[in-house]
Symmetry: C2
Subunit: 223 residues, 2 copies
DNA sequence: GAAGGTTTTGGTCAGAACGACCTATACCCA
DNA sequence: TGGGTATAGGTCGTTCTGACCAAAACCTTC
């Protein structure tokens, strides 16, 4: 067990961690990226979320980005702070709060992906962190351009619909989905077409902004 | 400047803080509770948010509740985690991340209240934390029962409307407001009436749940 | 005690949004 | 060249929203 003290006698955490829930949509379902197995490690076994310790000269988000770049090669993923988990006992090594982050990346990213709705027990309290991330994504889906992380390049309305369906867990009427997503003002047509297999070629779109945006879209009623 | 190290040589924060943005509605406007002035202190002067250092055996939320109880006497305020601010340099005493919280309390709570939209510069990075809190409250207003913290006891629809108006910054039609708030299912009538001055007596309501609730209400379109 | 003022509250109505469906378009494949 | 398939555009009935109107119920004043 590590310990830490500071010069004023106040108790200090032994370290500050930054873990990231990296989500994408694979095979029509939400998937989470996990780091190497923690077999017999301090986390109690099971896969763990990618993350690391925050240095004294960097913000937690910078740590999350650095670790993500090391593991996936991604340089500018969609990343936002999720919540901080600091319960005593969450890490058997000592008092180590973690600033959890949420990232959304394209499904082409290499790594070990687990289906969210059928994942094995995770190390530490990472299952709880994952649950918070999923809830966040579901809630923000129609109010923000979170999906920009999963669909960075030109995409068809059918591809976007598949992503929204996987995250929200509900099916959308193709025509209505296209009308509503266009009405949000979050996307714009590229002017090009893509022809995959049979059927009329689909128009390609892109998100107007590739930066995280809040509330830009119109809302969609939930029932 | 404090320092801290741990036995493994990893850099460690000197301490972990838990600050709270305590909001209410006073005189028809959002108001924030501040602790004693930090004149000439480490925060660079100006009022500071109430808060303290997290002990190694308590969660940050527990620290926030403890400090709030010490300063206001409140025992179970509406409290939720807001975000963590851990930029290096945010506290001149050393590397001290803070887990910021958001609390909503009745206007009757004693303390030093500042109007949010016309507040003097705050100490440390507390202005940024306050801005995040205001944004959070505005966004959750119609999706949750956040207002339960400000309106704990029996209240009239007019009182509720005043709170919602102050937070959202828009005026609501009295009749439409009543219809919509009742439609959310968040409130229920107490069966009693209150007669204040002239006019027909107003029916009293209470929130169905006094615990923080997400997404229970129907949504209200934002324009 | 009666009349007027004030506030709450229920109802109505037009416009907008939503969800479902239908049909035309445009491509691939046989 | 004709059939199959997927996208794209349009229509229609229902629901929701925002604004207004009027009745109800109380207080104050004459």
């Amino acid at each position: 067990m590590w310990t830490a003290t500071n010069s004023e006698g106040y108790p200090a955490p032994v370290a500050l961690a930054a873990d990231t829930v990296v989500l994408t949509v694979r095979d029509g379902a939400l998937a989470v990226l996990v780091a190497d197995e923690d077999a017999g490690g301090p986390g109690g076994g099971g896969p763990a979320l990618p993350g690391g310790f925050v240095g004294p000269d960097e913000a937690p988000a910078a740590t999350a980005r650095r670790k993500l770049a090391e593991k996936t090669g991604l340089d500018h993923p969609y990343l936002e702070q999720l919540a901080t988990f600091a319960d005593p006992g969450r890490d058997p090594r000592g008092w180590i709060p973690t600033v959890a982050h949420l990232a959304l990346v394209p499904p082409s990213v290499d790594g070990r992906w687990l289906p969210v709705r059928d994942a094995p027990p995770l190390a530490y309290d990472h299952a709880r962190i994952l649950a918070a991330a999923v809830e966040r994504v579901e809630g923000k889906l129609w109010w923000s351009n979170v999906a920009v992380g999963i669909l960075p390049g030109p995409f068809t309305l059918a591809e976007a619909r598949a992503v929204y369906t996987a995250i929200a867990g509900v099916t959308y009427d193709p025509a209505t989905f296209g009308r509503d997503l266009k009405a949000t003002g979050l996307i714009e047509p590229t002017g090009e077409l893509r022809s995959d297999g049979p059927g009329r070629p689909a128009a390609l779109f892109r998100f107007v902004s590739s930066d995280p945006t809040w509330g830009a879209g119109r809302r969609k009623r939930v029932r």
